[in-house]
Amino acid sequence: MASGGVEEATKLKLYSYWRSSCAHRVRIAMNLKGLHYEYKAVNLLKGEQFSTEFLKLNPIGYVPVLVDEDIVVSDSFAILMYLEEKYPQQPLLPRDLQRRAINYQAANIVSSSIQPLQNQNVLKYIAEKVNPDENLVWVRYHIGKGFEALEKLLKDYAGKYATGDEVYLADLFLAPQLCASIKSFSLDMTPYPLLSRLNEAYNEHPAFQAAMPEKQPDTPVEVRG
């Protein structure tokens, strides 16, 4: 669904990095909603997020950034809320207020309790101040705590997906986090049976498959496999 050949393909642009779990969330949403977009790669390792051009779009220098004609939206949660309002097909939130709240809560466990504690800046800090081996200990500890919380939160709500039988916001945050935890940090998933089952479900869903880090235009050749 990225870089389609039709006219509307260039209407939406997504600035993304293949490995960014925040960008990953948005890629899933775009695919779910059937939105064609132009993939604009921003190489975070080369510091391309600090280019003058990119900083004009997002002065903070983070990906993802969505450009929809003259509207520019940064931050994965803000982008998802924007997409939900502008392109309501395949809704990302259920109607029921309690279930909506569970989705916001699950999304926030990932985006506040897990992901910020494993980003590059934090890991660099821990590696320097403690030692590089501590990184894996630190990351696994925080992911573990977050996953434990998610297992408890979702156990009364999960169906085929996190909060029922349809894909919703929680799934968009969970899938990238699970992907990173398993592939980058080799987390032992045995204590998390519900999340393990959800991960299997995501791996079989086309919208999720197409959004995977290893399938993006900027994925390095050696990772693409």
Partner: protein, 274 residues
């Protein structure tokens, strides 16, 4: 968690004493909420909800603070139930039923139970649309959510007590403050850049929205607990001054919550009887 002695100075300032010792603290809170003379909103309030909203909160929690501020802004009366994190009350069987994650704030509204400040604010926004916390304009709405995310994801989680304890264990006690300050200043730098073109009286213009609800408690904590020098952040400083002037913000201050006032009372009495 031991209540830091540092915060005692908030209680002994003479000008605050009168405000801290009304006989019915909840009544004081409700009275302030209902008065909208200086409210930043022009719209009239809708009738209150049929059953009373209950908020489980701790006076020192900045996440609870956001929700208290938002409830006041929307003119929603609520019952304050304190959960003393210092005494581990978040692990009581009763609270565990409400939130098995043992986190506050938790909002109970009839049959609905919502945890997590962002989830609560989105719930309130959808259920009680009066005094909207998100503007209709798509750009401004997105900007508000982005600013809230910076606070919610990039700043506050990194200076939570549990993280500071970890830093202290792994690196040393001296590192706690420099770690917290580094991350707060990084986040505030980002927010200055993000908001400099949109900010006026408030973060995204002349009206208060969700960004301000996240920013004001964060700035208060940054200055009160972590000695951040706000002169480096003029846009944020201005936003903070605007929020501080609001009765809705004043009523949400940590030191004005029932559990803070009870703590003050009991320490005062201990002191008298020493």
């Amino acid at each position: 968690m031991v209540v830091p002695v540092l915060n005692i100075h908030l209680f002994i300032h003479p000008l605050r004493t009168a405000a801290l010792l009304p006989s019915d603290h909840r009544q004081y809170q409700k009275t302030v909420v209902m008065s909208s003379a200086e409210s930043p909103r022009q719209e009239s309030s809708m009738p209150p909800p049929a059953s009373k909203i209950v908020l489980y909160s701790f006076w020192q929690s900045s996440c609870s603070w956001r929700v208290r501020f938002a409830l006041n802004l929307k003119g929603l009366p609520y019952e304050y139930k304190s959960v003393n994190l210092a005494k581990g009350e978040q692990f009581s069987p009763e609270f565990e039923k409400l939130n098995p994650l043992h986190l506050i704030p938790v909002l109970v509204d009839g049959d609905v139970v919502v945890s997590d400040s962002l989830a609560i604010l989105m719930y309130l926004e959808e259920k009680y649309p009066q005094n909207a916390l998100l503007p209709a304009d798509q750009r401004l709405k997105a900007l508000n959510i982005q600013a809230a995310s910076v606070v919610n994801s990039s700043i506050q989680p990194l200076h939570m007590l549990s993280i500071l304890k970890l830093i202290e264990e792994k690196i040393g006690p001296a590192e706690r403050l420099s770690w917290a300050q580094y991350n707060i200043e990084k986040g505030f730098d980002a927010l200055e850049k993000l908001l400099k073109d949109s900010a006026a009286k408030y973060a995204t213009g002349e009206e208060l929205y969700m960004a301000d609800v996240f920013l004001a408690p964060q700035i208060a904590v940054a200055t009160g607990r972590f000695d951040i020098d706000m002169s480096k952040f003029p846009t944020l400083s201005k936003i903070f001054e605007s929020c501080k002037a609001l009765p809705e913000f004043q009523a949400s201050l940590p030191e004005r919550q029932p559990d803070a006032i009870n703590l003050l009372r009991s320490r005062f009495l201990e002191h008298i009887y020493e």
